[in-house]
């Protein structure tokens, strides 16, 4: 087989199943550190997809059942890719990682664990996360790890739509009615404490130069882009203290346990079963 046939190019979108195959046949095996980093990204996407999936059949209008469903599906796709890749380090599948890890083994940030709340809370959470993910994946395209770069290449295009969707809703809610403005202001206050954790540096990133993206480097671009939307929405950045975080080290919010209990219940009733 020629080298170009096995090379992973960012333009060549990989399905989670393709990644699982490569991990299986040994053509893509991450180091423990790379796998740990892939868990950060995969767990954020997975927990968010789980949250958003709850909206389907409950959204404010049918168009939003479709839109939030789309975003959830995209995030789930990214999660499956990152987890499939991460599992290669430990001989585990995406499902082993999603269904058979306990809370302390998850690496999600507290932001994605936050409950859906009303539509404004969901949108504020989405606004922060999709702008963060966009800046992150954009830089991950240049990662020295070709698999991470390939996953990011597919994800960045989808997340670009997510940030547009949530930005549009931030404007509509902030400039719509008195009630929607009151609700979105409250939502921003509720969500903002969890923003800092996303941009905190971590020894893992130091151990992966040229491979991982340094979180603190994303902050200026994030602030500029989200700041412009908030200014147009005439929303002030709330002065609320940051929560202490700890998700990357396995210290989670109170919410994660309930979320995992629901997500994992059936799989754990039938260990080893195939579905």
């Amino acid at each position: 087989m020629s080298e170009s046939a096995t090379r992973i190019t960012p333009g060549n979108a990989l399905r989670p199943e393709d990644i699982a195959d490569r991990v299986h046949d040994g053509t893509a095996k991450p180091s423990d550190e790379v796998a740990e980093y892939a868990l950060w990204l995969g767990d954020d996407a997975l927990i968010l997809a789980q949250r958003l999936g709850h909206w389907i059949s409950r959204a404010p209008e049918l168009e939003e059942d479709v839109a939030l469903g789309n975003i959830a599906l995209d995030q789930l796709g990214h999660a499956r890719s990152f987890l499939s890749y991460a599992g290669g380090a430990w001989g585990k599948s995406e499902d082993d990682l999603a269904y058979f890890r306990d809370e302390p083994q998850f690496r999600s940030a507290h932001l994605v664990e936050q409950p859906n709340g009303d539509f404004a809370v969901t949108i504020a959470r989405q606004f922060v996360l999709s702008h963060y993910q966009f800046e992150l994946y954009r830089r991950l395209l240049d990662s020295a790890d070709p698999m991470l770069a390939a996953i990011a290449a597919k994800a960045v295009k989808e997340v670009d739509y997510h940030r547009d969707h949530s930005s549009q809703w931030m404007l509509r809610l902030a400039l719509g009615t008195d009630e929607s403005r009151r609700r979105v202001e409250a939502a921003v206050k509720l969500i903002w404490p969890y923003l800092a954790e996303l941009f905190e540096d971590h020894p893992l990133v130091d151990a992966l130069p040229g491979i991982a993206v340094r979180p603190s480097e994303l902050r200026p671009a994030f602030d500029a882009v989200t700041g412009a939307v908030l200014a147009e929405a005439q929303l002030e950045i709330p002065s609320v203290p940051s929560a202490s975080g700890g998700g990357r080290n396995g210290r989670h919010s109170e919410h994660l346990g309930y979320l995992l209990a629901e997500m994992q219940v059936l799989a754990r009733q039938h260990p080893g079963a195939s579905w």
Binding site: P16, E17, L46, A49, Q50, G53, H54, I56, S57, R58, A59, P60, E61, L62, E63, E64, D65, V66, G69, N70, A72, L73, L76, G77, A79, R80, L83, E94, D95, A98, Y99, D118, F119, L171, R172, L173, L175, G176, T177, E179, S180, R183, E262, M263, V265, L266, A267, H270, A273, S274, W275
Partner: protein, 312 residues
């Protein structure tokens, strides 16, 4: 066009088996029948999301979770296509939605049964979407253009829905004894309600003849039901499961599949509101609608402000 010329044009369209378009004159009864049928169909898509959405957060593998999410999301899209088709007849979506949550509109009675196990995701896809396909393929040739075109788009997606249901059941049937039992139990519960999706027997279906004369309906309820039974008999063998009906047989004389008696009293009871989940389904739709009111108002107010700004 006055009524006489309009009626003549309409009759000619029917005789030629052509399409009626929104601007064409049509008899009031034809319009009313279509609004009722298309909106009921749209409501069924929307209420039908609920039993499956119930399992999105608990799907036992990430691949299944993705497929189920895509499927339930498709159903929301089907609702949208159908409400749009009904709107071309002059009834706004809001009005249809209000009728639904006020309990004044009907939707397919099968969605008033609970989805209590993961295998129900298989049985619903295989049997319920399967019956929907049998019903809907002939509707792609319905005489009202926007309805027929909506059905063409919908039918393309329905075959994926049925296939994913079949795959869920197949995987369970080939799995552990407990999984196989779960699959059989789900098929047992969804079989009779899925047969009743085709509507009452022909001798108890007073509106069918008129719908057939208007080229909306192409085959009778019993004809479609019999075809469906034939398809299921074949597929259940591949699944390694059984249908809970020992009276299924192929009648060599009529060349039709026959099945055992169905409990039409239960059907009427569930339709009248006495099913296990009627109140729950409506309440869920009502609360999604009510909880979302401020969001829809905000979007409308924002759009109006934007328009005013452009005009100024």
């Amino acid at each position: 066009m006055d009524d006489t010329a309009g009626q003549a044009n309409f009759d000619a369209l029917m005789a030629a088996d052509s399409r009626v378009e929104p601007r064409d004159w049509m008899p009031e009864a034809y319009r009313r029948t279509l609004v009722r049928q298309i909106s009921q169909h749209a409501h069924s898509e929307i209420i039908g999301m609920q039993p499956e959405a119930n399992w999105i957060t608990r799907a036992p593998s990430l691949r299944r979770k993705a497929i189920l999410m895509a499927k339930v999301q498709d159903e929301a899209g089907h609702g949208l296509y159908l409400y749009s088709a009904a709107e071309t007849l002059g009834t706004p979506r809001d009005e249809m939605m209000e009728a639904l949550i006020a309990g004044k509109a009907r939707y397919s009675s099968i969605f008033n049964y609970p989805a209590v196990s993961w295998a129900d995701m298989g049985a619903i896809g295989w049997l319920v979407d399967g019956a929907a396909i049998c019903n809907q393929v002939p509707l792609c040739r319905a005489s009202y253009g926007p309805y027929a075109r909506a059905m063409v788009r919908i039918c393309k997606e329905e075959s994926f829905h049925q296939r994913q249901g079949f795959e869920i059941l197949l995987e369970l049937s080939r799995g552990s004894a407990v999984q196989k039992q779960m699959a059989q139990d789900a098929v047992n519960r969804w079989y009779a309600p899925s047969l009743m999706m085709f509507g009452p027997p022909d001798d108890d279906s007073p509106n069918s003849l008129q719908s057939m004369a208007w080229n909306i309906k192409r085959f009778s309820n019993d004809e479609l039901r019999s075809r469906f039974v034939g398809m299921m008999v074949e597929q259940v063998e591949v699944l390694g499961l059984t249908l809970p009906d020992d009276q299924i047989r192929f009648n060599e004389e009529t060349k039709k599949w026959e099945h055992g008696p169905l409990d039409w009293n239960e059907f009427k009871d569930v339709l009248a509101g006495h099913g296990p989940c009627n109140a729950q389904r409506l309440e869920r739709r009502r609360s999604a609608h009510d909880d979302g009111a401020w969001v829809r108002e905000a979007a409308a107010a924002y759009a109006a402000k934007q328009q005013a700004a452009v005009a100024a």
